[in-house]
């Protein structure tokens, strides 16, 4: 009896170990994924430690130093200074903070909503499915920026409302994606088996179907982080997001645009910072997608 037990343990454990190892192996041998990871980690660290890394921490606020305005990049001001004489390097570091805060806020609300609705629509047939997928399709037909502008303007323009404006539409993509996966999983035999053994709907949804959606959700969420950064920057570029003097990468570009092409560094530095962050999340997301071998 005991011999049989051991052999069963070996038989079930070994493949799981190699599968996990193979997944990690695929990720670690993908240079783009590794570069993405490094970039994302560096962005997060910069955002956390911005006050320590910044060369002029006071320049985050409404500081004005007219003797130092529009200075090109040099040893003192690595990315130059802006129209009020503030150090752009410092403001870019703090800009990452605002961008990441937006990402956490938007995805923290919209991913759970979208996943829940997607699960419900994919598992329950009939009116629930029709209502949720119908509503999702309608929301997908609204140009996100138009909706965000409408919502953002109805409310006062600031960071929290920009978050709200983006969140209103963001859940739809997750709902659609999870719906697709959940629908295909819901007809599998093990779901039927769980139901026959008396499992509740809640148990089936959270313990049987949800784990099958995790890889898709994590890939989509990583790629979404890049979109939210882009979207938030676009909103504040249009004047509806974060308000000055808070350093935001999008509004920094909007404010400096009038000084082009002479004061190019004032646009280029925040622009490249946005590009750096979105590139990182995109590479990481693509790497995760190859690793899990899923479609989003």
């Amino acid at each position: 009896m005991s011999v049989e037990d051991i052999s069963i343990v070996e038989a079930t454990d070994a493949p799981a170990l190699t599968a996990r190892y193979m997944t990690w192996y695929r990720f670690s041998r993908n240079p783009a994924a590794i570069i993405g990871t490094i970039i994302v980690v560096s962005v997060v660290l910069i955002a956390i430690f911005a006050p320590l890394l910044a060369t002029y921490p006071k320049h985050v606020g409404a500081v004005v130093d007219f003797r130092a305005r529009h200075l090109p990049p040099d040893a003192l001001h690595w990315f130059g200074t802006d129209k009020a004489g503030r150090d752009i390097f410092t403001r870019v570091l703090f800009g990452f903070r605002v961008s990441l805060l937006l990402v956490v806020g938007v995805l923290g609300i919209s991913v759970p909503i979208g996943v829940t609705l997607g699960l419900l629509a994919g598992y329950f047939k009939g009116p629930v499915e029709r209502f949720i997928s119908g509503f999702t399709n309608v929301m997908l037909a609204i140009p996100p920026l138009v909706m965000a502008l409408a919502v953002g303007n109805v409310l006062e323009p600031n960071l929290v409302n920009a978050m709200l404006a983006i969140t209103v539409l963001w859940w739809t993509w997750h709902a659609r994606l999870v719906y697709r996966v959940a629908k295909s999983v819901a007809v599998e035999d093990f779901i039927e088996a769980a139901r026959l053994s008396g499992a509740s709907h809640f148990h089936i949804l959270t313990r049987e179907i949800l784990p099958n959606c995790i890889s898709v959700i994590s890939v989509k969420t990583t790629l979404d982080a890049a979109f939210v950064i882009m979207f938030g920057a676009t909103l504040s570029f249009l004047g509806l997001g974060v308000q000055p003097p808070t350093p935001d990468l999008g509004s920094m570009i909007a404010e400096s645009r009038q000084f082009l092409p002479e004061k190019w560094w004032e646009v280029l530095a925040p622009g490249m910072a946005i590009f750096y962050a979105t590139l990182g999340f995109n590479l990481l997301g693509d790497g995760l997608r190859d690793m899990f071998d899923v479609e989003t």
């Binding site: 037909a141 140009p143 920026l145 909706m147 502008l149 249009l238 004047g239 646009v267 946005i274």
Partner: protein
Amino acid sequence: MNAGMIELFLRRIAGFVLVLFVLSLIIFVLARVVPGDPARIALGPRATQEQVDAMRISMGLDEPLIGQYFTYIGKVLHGDLGESLLSHKPVRDDLATFLPATLELVLATVILVFAVSIPLGVLTARYRNGWIDHLGRFFSLVGVTMPGFLFAVLLQLFVARFVPGWPILGRMDYNLAPPTGPTGLYLIDSIVHGRPDVFLAALKYLTLPTLALALASIGQITRITRSAMIENQRKDHVLTLRSFGVPTRVIVFRYLLKLSSIAPLTILGLEFASLIGNAFVVEMVFSWGGFASYGLSAIMQKDLNAVMAVVLVSGCFFVVANLVIDVILTLLDPRLRLREAR
């Protein structure tokens, strides 16, 4: 066209009408629960309370919300989009002025996207892992990663520096009168009026905004075309063609390309919503003065009727584009026709 296909299209159109209906309801409710009295905004801060009350009644704002909505929809169905609260002109006239500019920009963008990304997708799939593939993938990545407004601003910066004299703002030279033509699209009107100089100027002004708007879609569509080509290369019927000795060129252009344009076309339909959204930013950066700029200022000034019209027209853009794509898809893919006939 058989009966099955006609039924399919009628069903799609019914679905899209429902989409527009719900969309209008959402925006309508959203616009009315907003703090800020539309009558007060229309009259300005100096109007007396009696004037505002009279205005509220003449605007129908004293009715219940659901009644207001159906009155509004009834008017919209008769082509009356109401009056702009700020300019006091019918919104329909404003749209007629501003819509052609955006239409020209979006159409030019769609043409450019297909002209670039389908060949690029075919090439990158054909020479997979060659230098052109790496280059193509790099550009797709940049296209997907770079925000539209950032690319637009950078494009302006580089053109201003390195191509002096190339127009970076507006739609037309100041010393050239824009053509007053039947369509409002400068490119077409200038041909109608036989003015090659105006045509060239319009084309020049159109270049940068179109490039800026197209970048993201080019990246996306190239990626999808490439993976569709690679996936379909492995299909049995392609292998059969190959074993019969059909030249690669014929296989790629007569069989593979048709099959592989289904996925990119579908995605382009979905992309249309973000294309319209990006048009707002691109029009602002290049002072294009189209429908998107109009919508932006309407939103900023809380001009409710104009905002409603802008959202509805954006929705219509999306719906019509997707219908056209559906038609093309059924023509391309016999399986879709067969499924409906069954």
